[in-house]
Symmetry: C2
Subunit: 184 residues, 2 copies
């Protein structure tokens, strides 16, 4: 309850702009009473960041197990990102934008998890290129382009403007896999 309210505030105003008094008002307590439920402001941010990091890494493990082409694995990972965003937009947005306010050693630990996820994603791309299933793309460029392409959804689903998650998913996957331009 407190954690959900905090995630919403962190997403809307940012971690630093959210005061414990803001959070207390939201859950109808006095600021001091929050500390019967949590240890500190940062502890909430830590939970948000590490819960989501875990979700992504678990999803990656599932995808790696698939007997599928690199292109299909990438499609599955794009769906993973969209699925996580759909299930808990608020939390994943805070995780995306506010992790840098973690203090050490949590910051370094978080960065290491992020890096691990990226590395495993990159391996899938590189294997696809090696096997000729993907065009000879620079793996880093491809990696970050995919990440970014689903990142805007975290803002999008929040305001939910009429397209269904399924439609968006299909469009993004097609765009990234087949491109925008018609064949000449």
């Amino acid at each position: 309850m407190i954690c959900e309210a905090a995630a919403r505030l962190f997403r809307d105003k940012g971690y630093k702009s959210t005061s414990m008094r803001d959070l207390a008002r939201e859950v109808r307590l006095k600021a001091s009473s929050l500390y019967n439920h949590i240890q500190s402001k940062e502890e909430i941010l830590q939970e948000i960041c590490f819960d989501n990091a875990r979700r992504f890494l678990e999803g990656m493990t599932e995808v790696e197990k698939l007997e599928a082409s690199a292109a299909d694995k990438i499609r599955a990972l794009i769906r993973l990102h969209i699925c996580i965003a759909t299930n808990d937009v608020t939390s994943v947005t805070a995780f995306n934008d506010e992790w840098r306010h973690l203090s050490e050693p949590h910051l370094s630990e978080f960065k290491a998890l992020r890096r691990e996820y990226e590395q495993r994603f990159r391996l899938i791309i590189e294997e696809g290129v090696r096997l000729g299933e993907l065009k000879p793309l620079h793996s880093t460029v491809a990696l970050y382009t995919i990440f970014s392409s689903v990142r805007w959804l975290y803002d999008w689903f929040r305001t939910g403007k009429g397209i269904s998650a399924n439609d968006v998913e299909r469009n993004i996957i097609r765009l990234l896999m087949e491109g925008m331009e018609t064949d000449k």
Copy 2:
């Protein structure tokens, strides 16, 4: 000078986490002396946000004048985003991440400029689809996918890991226009 230092701090720590004492230290003044050069902390953020908004809109105006296909105009706009990022990464990152801390009426004014840019971009995509130069994509999905695909560069150029801007540009444009997957 003050403005450049502020942009760097806003990018690295965020607007709210940057104190006027941080900024003063950076330019070797006392905090109070800053106010002989600037009016307020927010004024600096306003300059950063509106300068960049103007850059994007001017670039858009140039692209609209081109006698070219929709696909070529989109390629030109992708280059515009990358060009602006290359020329002043710091400022454009602050602009991207920190505009929400603007106060009214600047916040609404900024959002209006942003919306105008998006609308003009969307028109180009929709014309391309109508003329059959682009696949029948959902224009909003295409729009935000393009925006996001170049957004990560703002972080990338900052740490500059060995690929040239030209290489990155070519890779992103190819990926978005032709897709990742090889033809079957």
